[in-house]
Amino acid sequence: MTDDHSDLPPPGVPPGPPPPPTPTGQISGTTWLGFAAVVALAVAVSLEEDGDNGWGRIGVWAAFAIAAALATLAPAVREPLRLTPARAAQVAVAGGIGLAAFWVLFVLPVIERNVSFLATLGCVAGCWAAWRAPGRPGAAGPAPGRRPGPGGQAPPAW
């Protein structure tokens, strides 16, 4: 969701420890979620139900959904694409927002269909991958530099 400058560390506060890196050669859970989103959505728009499939019904929007799911994989492929961690997280969040919009506009009205269940699972996986994207503020523990309140949790801003 939306985070603004209130998550940035105040001036003079030293940044916290960076998130632990994923061991080389090991695929993170976030990557698996993004991969599951791509597969689930590709299958959901390709399976035929009631004499038609997603490519016939919504055409380009089906491709949009798959592209949005692919965008949630950006943190996993940021090095070949030369993306900074923050930029990769932004791309993943944009993919998650695209998946949410796709679900509201095209999946929810036909939620009783079997392929809609699969598409819903894909959208949930993609949005979860975007939510957990490394580099996104608040993705893993408190934001760097945020001072915890009593009990170890940051105090509510409002």
């Binding site: 939306t2 985070d3 209130s6 608040g138 409002w158």
Partner: protein, 121 residues
């Protein structure tokens, strides 16, 4: 208050739940289509998500998003009244009324003063 949650989290979660319940009510203009098929879903689903997130994460960004969601719910209530759908209007107004005192206390105070003024007249 929700156990372990910030103050007012229960109200915001109840408002989000009311948005989800509204998806089952009639929202369509002529055909009385359910909310999950009508155009109102474009507001109800994001509003439910925004209010649920605001119940747990209290940042300036989540507050701004929740305020937009509450304003959109009020607009949706007007739309429901114009379509002669009292249940849908009541649910949208109810969700807005549940969330406003926590998210937008100034607007809640103004609405309360206006209501008291109308009653005293």
């Amino acid at each position: 208050m929700v156990a372990g949650g910030p103050p007012g989290a229960g109200r915001l979660l109840a408002a989000a739940a009311l948005c989800v319940v509204s998806l089952g009510l009639a929202w369509g203009a002529g055909d009385h289509a359910p909310g999950y098929r009508a155009d109102a879903r474009a507001v109800l689903v994001p509003a439910a998500v925004a209010l649920a997130v605001a119940a747990r994460r209290r940042t300036a960004g989540t507050r701004r998003t929740a305020r937009v969601a509450l304003a959109a719910l009020c607009a949706l209530a007007v739309l429901a009244v114009s379509r002669a759908l009292p249940a849908a209007a009541a649910s949208a107004l109810g969700a807005a009324a549940l969330g406003t005192p926590r998210v937008w206390p100034e607007a809640a105070a103004r609405a309360g003063a206006a209501w008291r003024g109308a009653l005293s007249r």
